[in-house]
Amino acid sequence: MASKAIKNKVNEWFDKDYRLTFYERIEYLIESEPLFENLSYAPRYGKTLEYILKRVSVFIQPEEKLIGSVKEVIPTEDEYEKGAALTKDWWTIPLEEIQQKISWFYSYGWLKRRAPWFYSFGHLGLLWEEMLEKGLGGFKQKAENNLQNLRGTENKEAKEFLEGAILCYDAMSLFILRYADCVKEEAEKCSDKVRAEELKRLEDICKHISYHAPRNLHEALQLLWFITLIFMKVAGCGVLDYGRMDQYLYPFYKKDIDKGELTKQEALDLITEFYYKNNEIMAPTDHMSQELEAVLYNLEVAYDDPNYIMIGGLLEGGKPGVNELSYLFIEAAHDLKLRNPFVVVRYYDGIEDAFWHKVCEAMRDNATIVIYNDMTMIEALQKYGIDEKDAYEYGFYGCNDPHISGKQSGLRQLWFNLVLPLVLALNEGKNPLNLGNDIDSNELLYTLEDRMIGLMSKPYSGVESMPVREMKSLDDLLEAYRTQVRFLLEKYREAFEKDFALEKKCNNGRIRIEDCFMEGTIENQITWNDGGTKYHHIIVQGSGLATVIDSLAAIKKQVFMDGAITLEALVCQLNSNYQDDPELQIMLKNKVDKFGNDIDWVDAFAAKVVDIFCDEVENVNQKDYTYWLLPTLSSDRDFTSMGRILTSTPDGRKTGDGISENQSPSTGADQNGLTALLNSVAKIPFNRITGGPLNIRIHPSAVKGDKGLEILKAAFRTFFEDGGLQIQLNVVSKEDLLEAQQKPEKYKNLCIRVTGYSAYFVQMGKKAQDEVINRTEQH
């Protein structure tokens, strides 16, 4: 499809009714439930997938070169009730039972659309390269060979696992063949000769890739799209790490170009269409604004899941990876400026200027592109047990969560509130907000719900540490902080190992569609979350770094340097939310230097805190554990809720208020210009940190014209040369954002980088909108 036709479709999408639902999935899921209920888990999973893929509508849309869509309808009231009731039927059970059925989950909103016998976690990447090299048939053969090897053994569950996988491959092949029939019929009806030829070609493509490896770029993208569609819309397996598309598609592109079978423009059109298809299936809403009607209503799976594409970056051995396709992937993102897919450009020292120019130009126009730094990422990943060769292949399978596609388990998270251990360190390990009545007392510290979702949502207490009256220096406080961080992480590890033992028991014999395309799952006949793959990670999202830095700076200045207040008296004020001295809070907020202004003595705490965090993460990683913890600095949008379990902090933050977001300074604290902000952030020892976003908002006037673009290029380049980790940019003024709140119809396509995913501003909730507005505007 040409770019113009795609843009028309995009405009239609902006007016999409949020009630539109792929109802066939629900219908056939309900129908199939009793049919296979006597089968074991894996065969039942495969049969269910087959049942649905055999029946859902297949159809093509005008002008499409990449085909594969789902039929969306607005459900009748009865249908809606029926669909909504399913969630209740499945999941209105005690949490302990949920744990046995699913082990863990991302959120209740995520859980509610998934059947206990047919769910996927998503947030993972597949063996894309192998998929394109060997095709579906190659994978099927591998499973069959493994099954062959098990002949004569008693291992029933392993055999069933493979049988389930084979059912899945067959179901997917069959689905693609149904499309071959569909385009054949369309071709016969088609009076336009050119289109009829195109359709005939598509028939051939579908027939071929239903089993065999793709032969060219068009076939490769078509196979990737069919897999994506099945994964996301049928299996509910979204947030895919597409990995390094410009690398693994390059051989196809090169061959086609060399043979004269493809022009650059045609390649660009295909990529653009692939991007569009990734958006077509999305609901017009923002999943992180849970209060929105469009989110509450939704019956879909993976309805708002971005997929991640890595572009550029170093190749194994440190060779530069930017190629001709890299440019096309950026061009397509720039042209469409859609929220999906989420393009991650991997920077490296010496990246070619022409490419950098294109990237920064697209980012200035608010395309969904962010930059990560290979110079720190590749080193950091190796610190947590990832082989050098694999580290070069890193991608993302969630907002800012690093991932090695096809070799690593799906996303599991722990939102680690970095401010909590500070509060505990100031209170001898007791949380002043812990009144004992909203936490189940249990030896595992964390509630089952928090363990399953990966939260620290209750005002947990810590372990006894030095009383503040005995602290003689900031080092004493930092030591107590370390003690609390260690305690919280060790307790997490202890609880995790206990839960994981249960999980492995319950999960035995279970399969999910993604197991069909990962390294180790088929070979070991174990689903990925229980040891099938090479790597298993829990991403520990350190949150609230700036709040901790600012608090330590305030203590250093007020208590240990100026002697204006004793630490004991300060803590007393903090715990009473400054009841007796409200002006102390104002003073701490307004009169003490803050992180983000390139003030060395303040910024020095960044390294101290991050080193403690990373040391203690390493402390709970041991060889015999399946899952390793990887530290990131990423709060996503949860920085407001994380503040609820915290008393006031010495930076002037009040009890219950939000903590700082992601890598950013506390809201509004950075007042010294963009370079000062970037210099501050670059002092964080990112060679130990494996992810996390830095949100930058720049006024359009500061980066306008050729000069502005050169400034942007230089600013970003310098930041990465200095060891910065990530940048995501919004170039939009506060005035425009305020106007967009008033006149949403005028700003339908204003696309915002939120935190590792994008959303359309006018589709976001008011709270999320205000968070973007409150970001410091650089100008």
Binding site: I586, K591, A715, T718
Partner: protein
Amino acid sequence: MLGLISRVQRFSVNDGPGIRTTVFVKGCNLSCQWCHNPETNNKRPEVIFYEQNCTLCGKCISACPKSLHQITENGIKTFDRKNCDGCGKCVEACIYGALELVGTQMDSQHIADIALKDLKYYKNSGGGLTISGGEALLQKDWVKEVFEKTKTHGIHNALDTAFNVKWEEIQDLFEVVDLVLLDSKCMNDEMHKRYTGVSNKQILENAKKLSKLDVDIIVRIPVITGVNDTLENMKETAEFLSGFENLLQVELLPYHSYGIEKGKCIGKENPVFETPTHEHMFHLNHCFTEKNIKSIVV
């Protein structure tokens, strides 16, 4: 040596090429009615009062050694600005951000150190340090000291000036200056006197001398409706500049009223001018381009 500074702006993108740090010195010998940095005009430290932030807490009253801050019986905060010598004690005491001191003495080394923090940004963007004002040349010796220090690190030095100083007093400065951002108000001397308080004779003579030196020039013209926004004035300026071989470009800056609010906070009432239209700016710009002088509207 100490210099009197009003503020330092990092990631400054409008005062010369690339990413820059701009230092605004305090004190000026022009009094342009449209001044957009009115807080830099006066040669002594001043206290800015942001009324909207004041909670009438009274901390400034007890902090001021001269009792210049008062709260009237009607609950109105007053400040006897005339007798203030800018000691800054009240600003230190204020925790609500209602008072700000503009005008601090800073050592040339301190400024050079701040500038050095962004050295890599300058190198990657072709930027550097700009000293602006106020009138930087009123503190020429200090400016020279700063520039000498930054020069040794290869920093590109830009001087932003209105040039109303004696040539003999400043000519040795240009050894350490790479670029002069030369403010041009208007060619008609009567108008110049009326709106800036001084004649433009010395300014124009200095400009001519500068055109013979090995230093780049960018001429910046704030375009003020009813003052200098005529084709005639621009043509005359273009004529004047047409022999300048070291002129990089002319920048036309349409008037904006940001200075009005800032002025109020330090007790200054400046008149409001009209902002010229885009079309008009385009026409004025043409006066330079037709003489083959590179010119842009900022």
